[in-house]
């Protein structure tokens, strides 16, 4: 964190809270495995847009919140999101200049990495291997990325989040 004054922190927090709510919002039974990782999408956006504010620490804490709110193993999502935040902040200059569809591919790879980490953790604690639909959320996340990107960018410009 730098000493330069920050603005619009409430927008960042509000978007994270909204993402957390979307993560536990009840869905019909058949749709549950397909729920996109809203929290990852929002985190990736803020890591690209404001890497000086949102980074590994915030990602780790957000992951911890996800672990508590969905009652998974404490630290599982924290690990995934910390790594996601780390990679995204490292590459944010490159990702910023990509067109949105190209960013979506990068986002897809990041989401896939999270799923792989998650399945490794699930394997380590002897959970059964999930069905094939387990791999669907990264694809849905990739398709949703342009939407998330445009909404959050317009919010950022309107509230001048630095």
């Amino acid at each position: 964190m730098t000493i330069t004054p920050h603005r619009g922190g409430f927008i960042i927090i509000a978007s994270f809270v909204l993402a957390l709510i979307l993560t536990i919002l009840p869905l019909p039974e058949w749709a549950r495995p397909f729920r996109p990782a809203w929290h990852s999408l929002v985190l990736i956006y803020w890591c690209i847009a404001t890497p000086q504010r949102v980074g590994v620490g915030i990602g780790w804490f957000l992951g911890l919140m996800i672990d508590v709110i969905t009652n998974t193993l404490l630290g599982q999502h924290a690990l995934e999101l910390a790594i996601t935040a780390f990679i995204t902040t490292k590459l944010h200059r490159r990702l910023r200049v990509f067109p949105v569809w190209q960013q979506a591919i990068g986002v897809f790879l990041l989401l896939m990495l999270e799923e792989v980490l998650s399945i490794i953790v699930m394997g380590a604690i002897h959970r059964p291997t999930p069905a094939l639909s387990y791999w669907a959320p990264p694809f849905i996340g990739m398709l949703l990325w342009p939407l998330v990107f445009i909404i959050l960018r317009s919010l950022r410009q309107r509230f001048k989040v630095i």
């Binding site: 809270v17 957390l20 709510i21 536990i24 919002l25 009840p26 869905l27 039974e29 549950r32 495995p33 729920r35 590994v56 620490g57 990602g59 780790w60 992951g63 911890l64 919140m65 508590v68 709110i69 969905t70 009652n71 998974t72 193993l73 404490l74 630290g75 599982q76 924290a78 690990l79 910390a82 790594i83 780390f86 953790v121 699930m122 604690i125 959970r127 059964p128 999930p130 387990y134």
Partner: protein
């Protein structure tokens, strides 16, 4: 970065092996509890709306149906009272410490989705209402699961179909005891420890045996659907369908046995889950 990764790995190991992180989880869950409420708002307000704008005819029909059900249940209850008294008399003659009668607390599910690969639900009663860890949870038909985590105003329930859950059961027909393991599918339990020549058949009702010390004995659990005997295998493959409505439950009953029929201290959940 390295610190975050190390911290996460350490937390995962500690959380999985010991229960020391319950304090951290409880503290953080105070922050996220309002989010649970907000996320369940669409469902609860939808229910409120449909309750408020229901037609008179519908309500009358409901009322009639409930009256009939109530009459039937009361009729059955009369017989049950007499049987209970007789049972207690006979048990007194045998000097048995067994007592019939459980305390029941009604709770509602909070309509939110947790991790789709774990079968858990959150209920709206917690430590303040006397809910405790390991308490048995039923729905109107059968056993649903057990409480695994208690917060002041809510509690987490692990369903019997979760792959990490095992439940001591017995066959109602002949008292054959075994363990019912969750499979991760909401409509299936597995009985992995019965030999090929065990006296069990499709259609048998499984009830709780009360042996683990967590679940009071005598509540229905599941109905055996399939018994597959393969001569090459030492154990039969037996599947059962839970009688509880695990997908569409709204209200649940939390049971507390008045006197435990088992001797000695009840085992910890970890022990109960680990020992087949």
């Amino acid at each position: 970065m390295a610190a975050a990764v190390l911290a996460s790995l350490l937390m995962m190991v500690v959380d999985h092996r010991e229960n020391h992180l319950e304090i951290v989880r409880s503290a953080l869950s105070i922050i996220v509890a309002p989010l649970h409420q907000i996320a369940s708002l669409p469902t609860s307000s939808g229910e409120w709306l449909s309750d408020s704008f229901r037609s008179r005819q519908h309500l009358l029909n409901d009322n009639k149906q409930l009256r009939e059900d109530n009459l039937k249940l009361k009729g059955q209850q009369q017989k049950f009272k007499a049987l209970e008294a007789e049972n207690m008399r006979l048990r007194d003659l045998l000097d048995s410490s067994f007592k019939i009668g459980d305390q029941i607390l009604i709770a509602e599910l909070i309509a939110i989705d947790l991790d789709p690969y774990k079968q858990q639900v959150i209920i709206n009663r917690g430590g303040n209402s006397g809910v405790f860890e390991g308490q048995a949870v039923l729905d109107a038909d059968a056993v649903l699961g057990q409480v695994i985590h208690v917060d002041p105003f809510s509690a987490t329930v692990l369903m019997i179909t979760d792959p990490s859950h095992a439940l001591p059961v017995e066959v109602n027909r002949n008292g054959l005891r075994t363990i019912a393991m969750g499979t991760g599918r909401t409509n299936e339990l597995e009985l992995p420890h019965l030999p090929n020549n065990a006296d069990i058949q499709a259609g048998d009702l499984l009830i709780t045996s009360g042996l683990g010390g967590h679940f009071p004995p005598g509540y229905p659990v599941a109905v055996v659907t399939q018994v597959i005997n393969s001569p090459g295998q030492p154990f039969a493959r037996i599947l059962a369908k839970p009688s509880a409505n695990l997908k569409r439950t709204h209200e649940v009953l939390l049971v507390r046995a008045l006197a435990s029929p088992t001797q000695g201290p009840p085992p910890t959940p970890a022990m109960e889950q680990a020992t087949p």
